[in-house]
Amino acid sequence: MQTIQQSSKPSGRASVVEQLREAGILAILLLGALIFSFTVPSFFSVDNAISGIGLSAAINTIVAIGLTYVIITGGIDLSVGSTAALSAVIGADLMQRGLPAILAVLAALAVGAVAGLVNGLLVTRVQLAPFIVTLGTMTFYRGLALSYTNGQPILSLPDNFKNVLGGNIAGFPIPLLVALLLVGAFTLLLKFTKTGQYILAIGGNAEAVRLSGINTSRYITLTYVISGVLAAFAALVLIAQLGAAEPILGSGWELSAIAASVVGGTSLSGGKGNVVGALLGALLLSMLQNVLTLLGVQAFYQLLATGLIIIGAMVIDRYTRGS
């Protein structure tokens, strides 16, 4: 019988199939880009690649990193869009009142952290379902943002803020650069630290982790805080582009971020996921939208295409996973 057991040979941490999957999305992405660059005029221009795809993908990626973490624990965060709006209007307001941009940015991030902390504590201490908690705070935070500004946008943000977060380094937009750095950092955190592995383990079998003497509540809460901070950060990137903060910004962000995570291979039942996948997912979705826009396809057909991509990715996932 030892012969049977030994056939399950050394295999490393990520199985070959899983790596292939990631490579698969990358391949689809490159293939799509190649096809579009020949068929769609103006697709393959630096300008389009950066402003048409890169910027929207960057924002979505930043949000999706946080959501990926939450989803890995088996949770969900529907409140990211509202958290983004709330942090954006508070940050923008502070800047307008003359607070140095850097302090206003930190304040906005702190707002995101607190919003996430509230979600996390309701999930872990009060033991409410993540879906319900964040459905509630999604509405509540949006209400806060609207009442804070009386429903009005906050205009004319300081130039230094716009120039830094909305600027370029050697022609490369800072938001995109920051998104890539964050992807790298959160990948390392997930794969090579105790914190990251506990988060994965909690999604796999929370009770077993608890019985191993690990404070699971702390790590679950942490994922919501990360999600809140990253949502706030994405909002800052956006308002630096727009030069104004609207209390209605970020609506629908939760859905695109969930889509990016899931297309990238994160399992909604928890225990499994990766941040690079979320980046690829976000790029794929943005590229599709961009091409359809360039082709002059009407918005409602774009929805059809996006829906098909999401379901298609799940179908591929189902079959590449085998059992």
């Binding site: 914190t195 994965l200 079998n205």
Partner: protein
């Protein structure tokens, strides 16, 4: 002598039900102290209070003579206590090394190569021959059990609690476990050992403490007592050991399996089961017995071969069609494939009857049937509305049996019928299986417990590495013959020698 651990006057109730009453327990360095009792006696509950999972309502606990309060598993670990749980508690996506070191990884930034190297000696020690980088989800249940044991060893625990550690191990692995236990005790580790198997207790235990219905009955030196005396302490009466019914009349062929194969799992499996006959698939873990059983029920596919039920060919069995044709199935992995953990006992028991349209979902309609089974199987607590997750492991198993007994079936496929069941209930379940056979039900079971195989079977089919390698009638069978065929030390002339 040093008392590693001492618990006095422990009381614990769950929503008014007194589960532990003034229980005492102590553990010395270097001893194996067995905890014995019927299903639901409170063994797991006591262990969980010693591990900080439950907080006792009253009582005192001391470790190394120091009085302590354990309010979480983390506290217990800090006191040098490790626990191997009755229901496996590993993280499927993580590797063996990560599971072994979970909560003990050292620095925040992980170095996998170092972790794997650190874990290797512990795997060697428990005799687990898989690479430490293998994800746990690829291991068999037995291998996972060894991972749990390696984890306790790696923790450098002074006190190791083992709640039914052998319930999914076969003979060879049990030997391995004995060896690990002996090495540990030689180093002064104290082990608390729960098992329903007297041979294990005889092989390992220095002292035995018996619980009955949550009450402390006594602590004895294992060498001073007989098995009968222990059973008497457990159940409060003498147990009549019955032998099986030797002259059962078997009827028509009910199940006819021909050349059933699935690549990589089992090859050319051909056999028949008659009405009123108990046939057992015996063999080592990994021999493909469970796979054959599941394929017959349609839980997994097969690639070749033929299955006939009452002479009628079933081309593509699925659990739903098989159930409607009167086939019942009790899976090996109770926790994942048997129970609906958060549903009531009544719901768990009536699932199949509902699907068969035998009973409605209204409380009143179910009650009588559920109560009947609770009585017949001696399920405790006898409360149809209890959430099944809160039942002890053995009682959960009885509920699953009740599911098929009340739904009725002509062919019952059972994988490990008495896993985690105490001696007294085991006797009840054997009697029940005899009864079913008497009524003409055909029974095909998988069992790794040889005394059970010998006690129940009319015929024994032995599997090895995916092949059928021998057949023994009740008269021919003995533990030695079964093991001989299962390991390949002996062969059966009627079956082509394989591998």
């Amino acid at each position: 002598m040093v008392e590693l651990l001492s618990a006095q006057q422990i009381n614990k109730s769950f929503s008014g039900v007194h589960v532990l009453r003034d229980v005492q327990f102590s553990l010395r360095a270097g001893e194996v102290h067995a905890l014995l009792g019927e299903n639901g006696a409170g063994k797991s509950t006591l262990l969980k209070t010693l591990f900080g999972i439950y907080k006792p309502d009253s009582g005192t606990l001391s470790v190394n003579g120091q009085s302590v309060t354990l309010s979480s598993p983390g506290d217990a670990q800090a006191q040098g206590i490790a626990m191997i749980h009755q229901e496996l508690a590993l993280i499927p996506e993580l590797t063996v090394a990560q599971n072994v070191l979970l909560g003990n990884e050292g620095r925040e930034v992980l170095n996998y190569a170092r972790m794997e190297a650190r874990v290797q000696p512990f795997l060697d020690q428990v005799g687990l021959m898989v690479a430490p980088g293998t994800p746990v989800k690829r291991l068999t249940i037995a291998q996972q059990q060894m991972v749990e044991i390696a984890r306790a060893v790696a923790r450098q625990a002074r006190i190791i609690i083992m709640d039914e550690p052998t319930s999914s191990l076969t003979t060879h692995e049990i030997e391995q476990l004995y060896q690990v236990v002996r090495e540990l005790t030689a180093r002064g580790v104290g082990i608390i050992y729960v098992s329903h198997h007297f041979d294990e207790i005889e092989a390992l235990a220095d002292r035995v403490t018996v619980l009955r219905d949550g009450a402390y009955i006594g602590t004895v030196n294992q060498r001073d007592v007989t098995q009968e005396q222990l059973v008497n302490m457990m159940v409060g009466r003498n147990l009549v050991t019955q032998t099986g019914d030797h002259n059962r009349q078997v009827g028509e062929v009910r199940l006819d399996v021909q050349e059933l194969s699935r690549t990589g799992a089992f090859q050319d499996i051909t056999f028949r089961v008659h009405a009123g006959e108990v046939v057992t698939l015996a063999g080592l873990i990994g021999a493909g017995r469970t796979e054959v059983l599941r394929a017959i029920y349609g839980a997994d596919p097969f690639t070749q071969g033929k299955i006939q039920l009452d002479g009628q060919r079933i081309t593509r069995p699925t659990p739903a069609t098989m159930m409607r044709l009167g086939v019942g199935f009790i899976a090996e992995d109770r926790r994942h494939q048997g129970i609906v953990p958060d549903a009531k006992v009544s719901v768990n028991m009536m699932l199949t009857s509902w699907a068969k349209g035998k009973v409605g979902v209204r409380e009143g309609e179910m009650r009588q049937r559920v109560e009947e089974q609770i009585q017949q199987l001696g399920i405790r607590p006898a409360n149809a509305n209890q959430i099944i997750r809160r039942l002890s492991g053995g009682n959960q198993q009885k509920v699953i049996l009740g599911r098929w007994l009340s739904a009725g079936c002509q062919l019952l496929l059972i994988d490990e019928p008495t896993r985690g069941i105490d001696v007294a209930s085991k006797a009840d379940i054997y009697a029940l299986i005899d009864d079913l056979a008497q009524q003409g039900v055909a029974i095909l079971m998988v069992s790794s417990e040889l005394p059970e195989v010998l006690r129940l079977s009319d015929r024994i089919l032995v599997m090895r590495e995916g092949h059928l390698v021998g057949e023994l009638t009740r008269a021919e069978a003995s533990e030695e013959r079964i093991l001989g065929l299962a390991t390949g030390a002996q062969t059966d002339a009627n079956y082509s020698a394989v591998v």
